[in-house]
């Protein structure tokens, strides 16, 4: 996104809004990850304890999810920059 036409007061305002939004996005990413990995990995409710198999699945699942969203983030940033066109000189 290009905020170069914004004055400094507006830029400061946007920075705060973006920081807040990033925190919220991070939290949503986090709880979405927990939900997704729980739903995929936990299917046995004869015990409330996490089995070692379930735990390994959860660890791999969250590892993979973070790497996945990191990679999506990279491609997304590239394609978004492309769509916005080259910066003005």
């Amino acid at each position: 996104m290009d905020f170069s036409q914004f004055n400094s007061a507006e830029q400061a305002h946007m920075t705060k809004i973006i920081e807040k939004k990033q925190m919220q996005d991070f939290l949503r990413l986090y709880s979405g990850l927990v939900e997704r990995c729980f739903n995929t990995c936990c299917n046995d409710f004869t015990s409330k304890a996490l089995s070692s198999k379930e735990e390994q699945c959860v660890l791999n699942c969250s590892d993979k999810f973070l790497k996945h969203s990191e990679r999506v983030g990279q491609r997304f940033a590239e394609l978004n920059a492309e769509a916005m066109g080259p910066p003005k000189p």
Partner: protein
């Protein structure tokens, strides 16, 4: 991924609230799209077996193509909506009356 024109830079010095609101809308939109891509491409590309924590080669390539294709779809739909946009918005408007 821009549906909105930039407001003309009429105000100077203070904060142009309309311009801020449009920017916030744009940020919300980009963030919403990003989250949907993460979710869709996870379903399309990541095997739910979780035998290891790294992305394998096939998954990585799939993610790259998936994100690109999602952008393509977004663009096609955006073009379509820009012509039909007024209608769609009017539909939403019919939900409330003042």
């Amino acid at each position: 991924m821009s549906l909105f024109g930039r407001g003309s830079p009429t105000s100077s010095g203070g904060v142009n609230h309309e311009r801020i609101e449009m920017a916030v809308n744009e940020i919300d939109m980009v963030s919403d799209v990003f989250n949907r891509i993460v979710s869709s491409c996870h379903s399309k590309c990541i095997s739910p077996r979780y035998a290891e924590g790294d992305l394998n080669k096939g998954e990585s390539v799939c993610i790259d193509r998936c994100v690109a294709k999602f952008f393509e779809v977004n663009k096609k739909v955006g073009e379509k909506m820009q012509s039909a946009g007024a209608n769609a918005q009017a539909t939403g408007a019919s939900t409330f009356s003042l």
